[in-house]
């Protein structure tokens, strides 16, 4: 990804991230300064959230085309713009619900009806922007999955940090790390797997699908992915099963798994589907960039992986059956008019040749604990706090 001073998406991302970063620092820095030990501990612990996704990116490397810089941009968007927008938006939605149905009703249903909509929409907006920034490099659903996951994990890190600091502040027991560790265990270990990163990965898949297929139907798929994720998020935040169905801790864990597992399974299915139906990124690069190594019969992927000696010439290689349906892979094979079963039978070239393409705060008015508690303690997720 290169910096382009004439790129509207880059300017949009830069301006919003800059503004949100200032607001975020203004809201979180004082609490971090007041509780340096807890703040450092929270930052270190919740930064660990990024590791599984970094591993995922490496694991899927041969299927990915988007550069690391784009992943960094969407992660920062999730950590700043998405967090701050959700802070203001979710509280406002809560106020609107309280006006409509009373404070008790709003308290119970705002995490279900309000926060998922605000959070998922603003994270999805970040993924859309990320895709627009690296438009020519998005070549498959997996690119969207990873872009979405990084946007979500950025959000998750800051939200987890804020929850932990909120817990420390609300504990009012000094600069201690126990509340941070407790929040990390609950949110990071028990509930960390099925959280923002997973939700946004699903939306990212939908957005990348639409960006690479460019059909009306794919647009509906993207919209459906957003609606579906909002529903999954609402289910996760819902009070359903919060009492463990009367079975104690085991029941609570079972409820957490039952509410969170569908999203994880969907992501697993998307990844498997994409790996089965979309060619590795290197092959697509070959298709888009003129098959630089075609004549030597060595695909770039093989060159990169050091398998030069073992990969037979393209003409001798059997095309995996799973790739035959993929229009982009077909292009890589030199088939120029393979119908895309997912694009209404249009020419695969037309459809898919992508290579051508309160916390702290108090501002002037309240304490940091108030802000953090308002947003993260009650405004977005109830007991699970998503």
């Amino acid at each position: 990804m290169r910096l382009d001073p004439t790129s509207p998406p880059q300017w949009t991302a830069a301006l919003f991230i800059a503004a949100a970063s200032i607001l975020l620092l203004y809201n979180t820095l004082p609490v971090g300064l007041a509780y340096p030990r807890a703040g450092t501990c929270a930052l270190l612990l919740f930064s660990l959230f990024a590791l599984p996704f970094w591993w995922l990116r490496r694991r899927l490397a041969e299927h990915l085309s988007v550069p690391g810089a784009a992943l960094a941009v969407v992660a920062v968007w999730g950590a700043t713009v998405a967090v701050m927008t959700s802070l203001y938006g979710s509280n406002a939605v809560r106020g609107l619900l309280a006006t409509a149905g009373g404070p008790a009703w709003a308290g119970q249903w705002s995490p279900v009806l309000g926060a998922p909509v605000v959070e998922e929409v603003v994270k999805a907006a970040g993924v859309v922007l990320g895709v627009a920034i690296v438009w020519d490099r998005v070549r498959g659903v997996l690119d969207g999955v990873v872009l979405g996951a990084f946007c979500g994990v950025g959000f998750q890190i800051v939200e987890g940090y804020a929850f932990a600091m909120s817990s420390t502040v609300l504990n009012r027991a000094g600069d201690v790390v126990e509340p941070v560790v407790a929040v990390f265990v609950v949110r990071g270990v028990l509930a960390g797997l099925w959280s923002h990163a997973v939700f946004t990965a699903i939306v990212g898949a939908g957005i990348a699908y639409a960006a690479t297929r460019k059909t009306r139907r794919s647009g509906w798929v993207a919209a459906a992915s957003l609606v579906g994720v909002i529903a999954l998020h609402a289910l996760w935040n819902s009070p359903l099963g919060r009492d463990g169905f009367g079975l104690g801790a085991v029941g609570v864990l079972a409820a957490v798994a039952a509410k969170g597992l569908p999203a994880v399974l969907i992501v697993v299915w998307i990844i498997r589907w994409a790996k089965r139906n979309e060619a590795p990124a290197a092959a697509l690069s070959g298709a888009a960039e003129g098959f630089a190594d075609e004549e030597r019969g060595r695909p770039q992927a093989a060159l990169r992986s050091g398998e030069n000696e073992t990969v037979p010439p393209r003409s001798e290689r059997a095309v995996p059956r799973r790739h035959r349906r993929c229009p982009v892979a077909s292009v890589a094979q030199g088939v120029r008019s393979h119908p895309d079963p997912l694009s209404g039978g249009r020419s695969a070239v037309d459809a898919t040749v992508i290579g051508a393409s309160r916390v702290v705060v108090f501002l002037a008015s309240r304490t940091g604990a108030d802000q953090v508690g308002r947003r993260f303690g009650s405004g977005t997720g109830g007991e699970h706090g998503q």
Binding site: G89, S357, F362, A364, S365
Partner: protein, 175 residues
């Protein structure tokens, strides 16, 4: 993607973010006028708060499940937070509140102030901000703690008296 399309995408993204971050909060303020809650009683865990006359509130600012409520007294905002159990005393709680206050940009702690809630003595600190003034009171009774933070552009004597009346309406269980 053509320049025109990328511009359109950027505009849509910007519009969505601004709508959620600015328009929805403005709509909330517009359609959620403050209501007079004078004489009403609010319950936060073991604590009940009876609002005196001419105290207002915005819908959504009473969050019993979080132990929080926020009132408007004149131009001042008064936030009350309740939690339990709490093992320390009011002075320690006040020091913890001061810890956060003194790292806020533009906030300077000034002198101590007396605080009383239905006969329970608390520990209080006054402070000034870049845009006004305020004070914080901490109460601990039977391992239940209540924190009151009042801020306003100008806390005149009349407003402070009304806030003190609101604080005096805080009752700890059978206290």
């Amino acid at each position: 993607m053509s320049r025109k399309k990328s511009l359109a995408v950027s505009a849509v993204v910007a519009a969505v973010v601004l709508a959620l971050a600015l328009a929805v909060p403005l709509l909330n303020k517009a359609v959620a006028p403050t209501v007079d809650v004078g004489g009403e009683t609010f319950t936060l865990f073991e604590v009940t708060i009876t609002a005196p006359a001419e105290v207002h509130m915005r819908p959504g600012y009473y969050q019993p499940e979080s132990g929080r409520v926020e009132f408007l007294v004149g131009d001042a905002e008064v936030a009350i937070a309740v939690a339990e159990p709490y093992e320390f005393d009011a002075d320690y709680l006040a020091a913890e509140m001061a810890r956060l206050l003194e790292v806020q940009p533009g906030v300077q702690l000034t002198d101590s102030r007396p605080c009383t809630a239905s006969g329970v003595a608390g520990s209080g600190r006054s402070f000034v901000t870049e845009t006004g003034a305020g004070f914080a009171c901490a109460f601990v009774h039977d391992q239940v703690r209540a924190e009151v933070t009042a801020t306003g552009a100008a806390l005149d004597e009349s407003t402070v008296d009304r806030i003190d009346a609101l604080i005096d309406g805080i009752a700890f269980g059978e206290a």
